[in-house]
Symmetry: C2
Subunit: 127 residues, 2 copies
DNA sequence: CAAACCTTGACACAAGCGTGGTAAGGTTGG
DNA sequence: CCAACCTTACCACGCTTGTGTCAAGGTTTG
């Protein structure tokens, strides 16, 4: 045998066998299998599993959070989109004075509902 | 009024008023208040809220995921711990040959249960 | 002042997560 | 061959998420 079986792994990592299967199914670890389908836990995976416990406890977060973080790490599109999102400042489209933009926002759906009123971009209250 | 109220914001962002409160309570946006406690939605927040919808739809992820990502972005400890975790390779402690290490793992709990057997680091099967 | 807003707090409910258990069946090793 | 393991597939249960709705009460404004 090239590594530990699931019950042995459970004992040395502190996870239940049930949870080890669950964690695998959540994509957090990848386990090689024997010919007949038994999961094989090598030293690396055992370490990962212990570290994972520490992580969850220390930062009080969920498996799904770690799963999402993993996804983040491997999906640059997602990462970039998120970064742009939470760095998004109260930034107006250039060249539109704040008051106008706001009123424009405020009336948008009304404009959409009654398209008789043509969109006036420069005039608002004053002239 | 310096910005939109919650129902107006709901109309221009596509979120329900209920969800706008929920999103705020989840820490995803911060909303200034009037003296009497009314939430004020400025252009920036409206933009963020729209972007948020796109994000969730485009990447099929949950509010809690975005919340976690935000936490990630502002907590270097967490970020570092996670990075170390999913980059963790099947790496053995140096100087211990793989086979021994494995068997050592395998018997650790037995050693812990019957401490009569002194920890032998070099001998494994033979006695 | 009364209508139309806003606030918080609560109840409700579907869907998903984390976890345990159990059953039916294949594998392994003494 | 049989006990002790492994596998997948289910059922169950409590907790969290996301969402709506409703009630009780303060604010704003025609």
């Amino acid at each position: 045998m090239e590594g530990l079986t699931i019950n042995e792994a459970a004992e040395t990592t502190g996870w239940s066998p049930r949870m080890l299967r669950y964690i695998e199914s959540a994509g957090l670890i990848e386990l090689p299998r024997t010919e007949s389908g038994y999961r094989i836990f090598g030293p690396g995976e055992l370490q990962r599993l212990r570290t994972l416990r520490e992580l969850l406890a220390r930062f009080d977060c969920a498996l799904s959070d770690v799963a999402f973080a993993k996804r983040l790490a491997s999906d640059p599109d997602l990462r970039e989109a998120l970064e742009r999102w939470y760095e998004e400042r109260p930034q107006l489209p250039e060249g539109v004075p704040s008051d106008d933009w706001l009123r424009w926002e405020q009336e948008k759906h009304q404009r959409l509902l009654q398209p008789d009123t043509p969109p006036r971009l420069t005039e608002t209250t004053a002239a």
